[in-house]
Subunit: 141 residues, 2 copies
DNA sequence: AGTGATTTGTCCGTATGTATA
DNA sequence: CTATACATACGGACAAATCAC
């Protein structure tokens, strides 16, 4: 039995953009458990060297994953696998309605929502709105 | 009283990145009603000429708005102001829980969810999940 | 406290490909 | 077929945040 490191190649098949294929590879590395919550991904420079892409292309791939709420990027620090959130439970009162949308940058800052995480909006019958980070709330009847 | 066209300038105050300020300007032009649902935004080239930024910078600004579900970009066609969705109402059954997250590219394609729109996940007590585009659903108790 | 190295953020310019009108 | 418009990719440069020492 030969010991070997698993190298996740970018498929030579030119199906789709390179940054999308790289994102798919990284998504697999995360979902497969090779990279766990809190783990640091390779730096953009390392990914650039490893996959032979321009840094901008690497960043586009990371941007996709960030948009899915799968990773968190901290300037000067690194890129990390994000957790799923606690799942605080909120009971929907009579007449209240819940919907989801993406927050504006202002709302993101005020509610401390990371990029790529939606927002849950609960509207009561009088029109007042309550806002929650979408990954930290579960609604029950 | 002087008649004048309102020109949305990029504030000279260098607060934040240029693409974020441009996004804020465009967001205002949309929310103020100057640009309505379905309206076409200026082309990337026009925005580039108008604001004197590189096209990549323009695209980053548009990317922000796309990430908020505010605009829709169609290759070879243009950039358009997105509608808010219908608001189909779904009643939450006993034991069901609702949460929101961003869809993966696969889920986006299968549910025909535009970029920047979250997904509502309704989980029943037996673990089965129902998926809805987040901007086309409203949940009531 | 400070300095340098690392890492991500922003911005620019250019070129080419793909989709639509 | 041509022109327009968005998509992808590369390269370079400097700024800003963080870390290691």
């Amino acid at each position: 039995m030969t010991m070997h490191t698993v190298v996740f190649m970018i498929s030579a098949d030119p199906e789709g953009a390179r940054y999308k294929r790289l994102a798919a590879v990284l998504r697999t590395r995360i979902n497969s458990g090779e990279l766990r919550v809190g783990d640091k991904l390779p730096s953009e420079k390392d990914l650039k060297d490893e996959y032979g892409m321009a840094r901008e292309t690497i960043r586009k791939a990371l941007g996709l994953l960030r948009g899915e709420g799968l990773i968190e990027v901290r300037q000067g620090h690194g890129t990390f696998v994000r957790g799923k959130g606690e799942g605080r439970i909120v009971k929907l009162a009579k007449g209240e309605r819940a919907t989801a949308r993406m927050p504006t940058p202002t709302e993101r800052h005020e509610l401390d929502i990371p990029e790529g995480v939606p927002m849950m909006v609960i509207t009561s019958s009088d029109g007042k709105e309550k806002l929650y980070p979408g990954d930290e709330i579960v609604i029950t009847s």
